[in-house]
């Protein structure tokens, strides 16, 4: 598009002519470009350091005494509760998701429709809304609905995660080549036996990395349990963080909580990458 006469005149003028030397070589240009990028970063860092009110910042977010006072409860209770909520929600969600995925692929139309509606519904809702409805709506609607807090949290997390996981599992099942099913059926396996013996094990390898990601998302979603309120022993990280912020009138607990979440999520994302390397490239079935 930019073949203007001026640029044209600087280009090669004909066969046999030496390539005209640009004013600056590509290498020199790249060097200057890199220098500018480093420069911008440096300016931004210096500006932040200079502008920020460090004493106030440290006083608000970095009070070591407050951080220390949160231990060991933040680990022994809050972190533990977050892990328990997430694990229970994930296991229930995974079971529901497998059922939904199989329904989605069922030959019975109404099952496909129900599964489709469920997935669209719960994928479309913010997790917060699901928690509010589960925690406050249902007990009002059904007066006898008096489930333990833990069960409500588990169901809410399962509702949220199962919709996403169902789609992942469905995609995983469909990624297993049709030839695998045909081979299994030709050996006399029924379609459900072929599904459970041949297809699902191979689908699971394909979906292990995305499922690990779902576990990370769910860990963060478990923080919504705080809106349901809880006993002191039932607090997970977010609830404990809020309580401590109110107690200490300081924001340092946020930092502690953030670190605790990272303690859970960073190993998981590392695991996800390892699994991806191990299974991600593996051909499902063999060509």
């Amino acid at each position: 598009m930019s073949t203007s006469p001026t640029t044209g005149s600087r280009g090669p003028t004909g066969p046999g002519h030496p390539v005209p030397k640009a004013k600056m070589s590509k290498r020199k240009k790249a060097k200057i470009s890199r220098g500018i990028q480093y420069g911008i970063l440096l300016v931004i860092v210096i500006a932040i350091i200079a502008v920020a009110d460090w004493p106030t910042l440290i006083d608000t977010f970095g009070r070591v005494d407050i951080a220390v006072s949160m231990f060991p409860e933040v680990i022994t209770k809050a972190l533990k509760n977050t892990v328990i909520f997430t694990a229970l929600g994930f296991v229930l969600g995974l079971i529901v998701a497998i059922v939904l995925a199989l329904m989605r692929l069922s030959s019975v139309g109404i099952y496909r429709w129900i599964s489709f509606a469920y997935i669209e519904f719960f994928r479309g809702l913010p997790a917060l809304v699901v928690f509010l409805v589960m925690g406050f709506g249902l007990p009002v609607a059904f007066q006898g609905f008096n489930l333990p807090q833990l069960v409500i949290i588990m169901i809410a997390l399962a509702l949220v995660s199962s919709a996403y996981m169902a789609e992942t599992i469905r995609a995983g099942i469909q990624a297993v080549p049709q030839g695998q099913v045909e081979a299994a059926r030709s050996l006399g396996m029924s379609s459900s036996r072929a599904m459970f013996t041949i297809v699902l094990p191979q689908a699971m390898r394909i979906i292990l990395p995305p499922l690990t990601n779902e576990l990370i998302l769910l860990t963060k979603d478990s923080s919504l349990a705080y809106i349901l309120g809880s006993s002191v022993d039932g607090r997970e990280l977010a609830a404990l963080g809020r309580a401590e912020i109110v107690n200490s009138a300081n924001l340092t607990p946020f930092i502690v909580i953030a670190v605790c979440y990272l303690i859970i999520t960073i190993p998981l994302s590392y695991l996800s990458r390892v699994l991806e390397r191990k299974y991600g490239s593996a051909e499902p079935g063999v060509k």
């Binding site: 080549p177 030839g179 695998q180 045909e182 081979a183 299994a184 059926r185 030709s186 050996l187 006399g188 396996m189 029924s190 036996r193 013996t197 041949i198 094990p201 191979q202 390898r205 593996a282 051909e283 499902p284 079935g285 063999v286 060509k287």
Partner: protein
């Protein structure tokens, strides 16, 4: 092995029709295969030969006509199709070995779960069949570590482990590197000599000429010509057969 006394064919296909939507891919196919007979089905791609083969164990549901295998009416909706299929071995163009299982497990999983054999018994059958295809040393390998030819031989052994009465081969060498084709054909040749009833969809004319008792030439969903291998391949009567054979046997020449 061909018993002249037993006059009932083991496979009997009558007026088989198959269409996908409005697209009729098989029209009035008739075929009878006797016990121990080897029938090769040849023809251009899209002629319906693979579909015909897949109708025999109803991986494709026939639209019309009847298929009787070993006395079982395959088109009967109340037939226990899973039980029927255990007696019909099938080998696929793309092998379709179970990638998450070892060779041993590939050979035993259906024996144990479908036929209800004990693990020890299934192992014994698997080992015997793996020896037949010359791959005993690969019993603990994963399919992905095998060459295409080796995978196809394992796939043959897997089908044989169910002790089928009939073996169906769907272009078993079409996806193979040329240097591994010979090993697979040799295994099939041994199988034919041992008296297995085989229906083979193939492009290997040399194999058809040497091993087949009968050759079926299909085109456009019809059986155009059928007869003893030597006659159909050596002295075809129909123009379409002649054209096809000229193209396949002399692929370098035009016309």
């Amino acid at each position: 092995m061909i018993s002249t006394a037993d006059k009932t064919p083991i496979i009997s296909i009558k007026n088989l029709k198959k269409s996908f939507g409005s697209n009729q891919v098989l029209t009035d196919i008739n075929l009878e295969v006797d016990k121990g007979e080897v029938v090769c089905v040849v023809g251009p791609s899209g002629s319906g030969k693979s579909t015909m083969l897949r109708c025999i164990n109803t991986l494709e549901t026939p639209t019309g006509g009847s298929i009787v295998v070993d006395g079982m009416d395959m088109t009967d909706l109340d037939l226990d199709i899973d039980a029927a299929r255990t007696r019909i071995g099938m080998v696929f163009q793309s092998f379709n070995l179970f990638g998450h299982l070892t060779v041993r497990e590939n050979l035993t999983v259906a024996q144990i779960k479908v036929l209800g054999r004990s693990k020890a018994e299934a192992d014994k059958v698997a080992e015997a069949n793996l020896a037949k295809v010359g791959l005993s040393e690969k019993i603990d390998a994963k399919p992905a570590s095998l060459s295409g030819g080796q995978q196809q031989r394992v796939a043959i052994a897997r089908a044989l482990s169910m002790d089928p009465d009939v073996m169906l081969f769907d272009e078993p060498t079409s996806a193979l590197d040329p240097e591994t084709v010979g090993d697979v054909l040799q295994v099939m040749r041994n199988l034919a000599e041992a008296g297995m009833t085989m229906v083979v969809v193939t492009h290997e004319m040399e194999f058809a000429r040497q091993v087949a008792d009968r050759v079926l030439f299909m085109d456009g969903g019809y059986v155009v010509e059928s007869g003893p291998a030597r006659e159909v391949i050596g002295n075809p009567q129909e123009q379409r057969t002649k054209d096809f054979l000229a193209r396949v046997l002399n692929p370098g020449q035009l016309g």
